[in-house]
């Protein structure tokens, strides 16, 4: 055997491990499907469902959209959409403001590595709580209204934003703080002139990103009664009311696209 052939033989047979790996994944997926009782006949009706759906989508009840005519303003899609937006916006704002002190407590640069671990753990606990569960709990205390929604999103955002804020603070450039030290600044002055100008743009960018996600969450929270489009949507779904569902989904898509657009635009300007 030539030298080349010898080396070729020694080459690690990666393809075997790849094959086994792919096989394992396929088996796992098939196993996942096997457990569900798939009613294949249902798929036939999917076609007719789609037709009915698209027809009803086109037939939009303008009164319902705006909350005029037979509908109260508060029942109209316009109001509900703005309510959802309000929940997302105010929740994010409250969360962002409250997250700042918590992020200080979770940041090595400010309180040192040991205490920061503690702060981080606290934030992790808040974060792991799915928003819906949080909302379910808060509904008991604050009632089935938009206020619960704001509080849920606010609390959840403290966890999410707290961690990202802490990361920003830890990655900060310390050279300007060194200069402020040399000039004779005290702690507060160093924060005001050294830390804040650096982190505020980044924090705002993170918060805007969170706003995007929170507005989507706000639509879901309505499902358990925390205000917004969710409740009406579930009602429509259980009644197979495609036209209502269509109007709502249209509204959601428009709202999310708008918020996404504004958020991306502002974040680009901040960088």
């Amino acid at each position: 055997m030539t030298k080349t052939e010898q080396i070729l033989k020694k080459k690690p047979k990666k393809w075997i491990t790849n094959l086994i790996f792919t096989f394992a994944i396929i088996i796992a997926i098939v196993y996942s499907f096997s457990d569900s009782r798939i009613n294949w006949k249902r798929f036939n009706s999917v076609g007719s469902y789609l037709n009915a759906m698209l027809e009803s989508f086109a037939d939009i009840d303008v009164d319902f959209l705006l909350g005029t005519g037979l509908y109260r303003f508060e029942e109209g899609v316009l109001f509900l959409t703005l309510e959802t937006l309000a929940i997302g916006f105010l929740g994010t704002l409250i969360g962002a403001i409250l997250a700042i002190p918590f992020s200080f407590l979770a940041s090595t640069n400010i309180v040192g590595p040991k205490f920061a671990k503690l702060g981080e753990t606290f934030l992790i606990i808040i974060r792991v709580f799915p928003e819906i569960i949080l909302a379910l709990i808060l509904v008991k205390g604050f009632g089935m209204n938009a206020l619960t929604g704001v509080l849920t999103i606010g609390l959840h955002s403290i966890g999410m934003l707290g961690k990202m804020f802490a990361e920003t603070i830890d990655n900060m450039d310390r050279s300007s703080i060194e200069a402020l030290d040399a000039v004779g600044a005290n702690v507060w002055q160093k924060i005001r002139y050294g830390i804040i100008p650096q982190i505020v743009p980044e924090l705002s960018s993170v918060a805007l990103y969170r706003l995007d996600i929170n507005v989507r969450s706000a639509t879901i929270l309505g499902i358990i009664g925390a205000g917004g489009l969710g409740a009406t949507m579930v009602l429509a779904a259980s009644n197979w009311n495609w036209s209502v569902l269509g109007a709502i989904m249209l509204s959601i898509i428009v709202m999310v696209l708008v918020v996404d657009g504004i958020s991306s635009y502002l974040r680009n300007k901040l960088v």
């Binding site: 994944i25 796992a28 997926i29 196993y31 996942s32 499907f33 457990d35 569900s36 009782r37 798939i38 009613n39 249902r42 798929f43 999917v46 469902y49 508060e74 109001f79 703005l82 309510e83 937006l85 309000a86 916006f89 105010l90 704002l93 992790i124 792991v128 709580f129 799915p130 819906i132 569960i133 379910l136 709990i137 808060l138 008991k140 205390g141 604050f142 009632g143 089935m144 209204n145 938009a146 206020l147 704001v150 989507r216 969450s217 639509t219 879901i220 499902i223 358990i224 205000g227 949507m233 579930v234 779904a237 197979w240 569902l245 989904m249 959601i252 898509i253 999310v256 696209l257 996404d260």
Partner: protein, 283 residues
């Protein structure tokens, strides 16, 4: 009125106009921060109108009562019952993991071709990548729970709607993250391959794919983590999983709900831990 306006102008000028000893003068531009603050305040006031609530319904003591109910066994059940119940949650747990796993993998695979066609550096003509991106954005606007709701309307309850919802959701996110990554990679090797006569697919497989594969896996794990979290509650709208357990028991059996919450907690924490480990190793 005119005199009043004039004095205001001088006052503002006094704050912003500087004249140095050598005669030069310079004006300080208006600080934009006040505008931003103003807009924020207007928005807060505007949106607050929509948060309508009846103060009579705020009963804070309910919260502590609820906490007790969640985490202590109800009625005649004992603590061992409480923990035994957690073990019966094994099946919903597996359902949850199944949905997340299958959905994540399928969604990620579907995302690859779309991402390729949405990347500016591979699909060079706007007529190709613009509609792709629009499609992706459209899909991304719909939250996973709503997708699940609709899926249940179509195919009934069970694991399947959950898998469908997660697949679509994953597809949306992964496609966007993927095309952004593809756009940032080094195109030199791709061009080199194209010049040797390889077609686009071959060039992609040998030049682009090796560069993005670790990042792709990293994103996959990240999205899997997100999906485990959301699939845990998709059950609330009819798919299986821990969410449906909560929905079934929310009216009378708060202690079971509490047990389910704890199990969910542990699950998410574990997945998060593992995912962080894997992603750190991939760096």
């Amino acid at each position: 009125m005119v005199a009043h306006l004039n004095t205001t102008k001088y006052w503002v000028n006094d704050m912003t106009r500087f004249v140095l000893t050598n005669g030069k003068s310079i004006t300080k531009p208006f600080n934009k921060i006040w505008i931003i603050l103003g807009i924020l305040i207007v928005l807060v006031v505007f949106f607050s109108y929509f948060i309508q609530y009846d103060p009579r319904y705020i009963v804070l003591s309910e919260l502590s009562v609820l906490f007790e109910k969640l985490f202590t066994p109800r009625g005649t059940r004992t603590w061992s019952d409480y923990f035994a119940y957690m073990l019966t949650l094994k099946d919903p747990l597996i359902s949850t993991l199944q949905m997340s796993f299958a959905g994540t993998i399928m969604g990620s695979i579907l995302a690859i071709p779309v991402a390729i066609f949405a990347a500016k550096n591979i699909a060079k003509y706007p007529i190709i990548y613009v509609p792709m991106r629009f499609l992706m954005n459209l899909i991304r606007t719909i939250p996973a729970l709503i997708l699940a709701l609709i899926a249940v309307m179509f195919v009934g309850i069970g694991v399947l709607p959950g898998i469908i919802a997660i697949t679509i959701f994953t597809f949306g996110i992964m496609a966007k993250m993927l095309y952004e990554v593809i756009e940032t990679i080094d195109m030199n090797s791709y061009e080199a391959l194209e010049s040797t006569g390889a077609n686009k697919i071959q060039a992609f497989r040998y030049a682009v794919f090796p560069q993005i594969f670790p990042i792709y896996i990293s994103y996959l794990v990240y999205i899997f983590e997100i999906n485990v979290r959301s699939s845990a509650i998709l059950g609330y709208v009819g798919t299986e999983g821990i969410g449906s357990v909560i929905k079934d028991n929310i009216l009378y059996n708060y202690d079971r709900v509490g047990a389910a919450i704890i199990v969910m907690f542990v699950l998410i924490l574990t997945i998060q831990f593992i995912s962080n480990l894997i992603r750190r190793k991939l760096q």
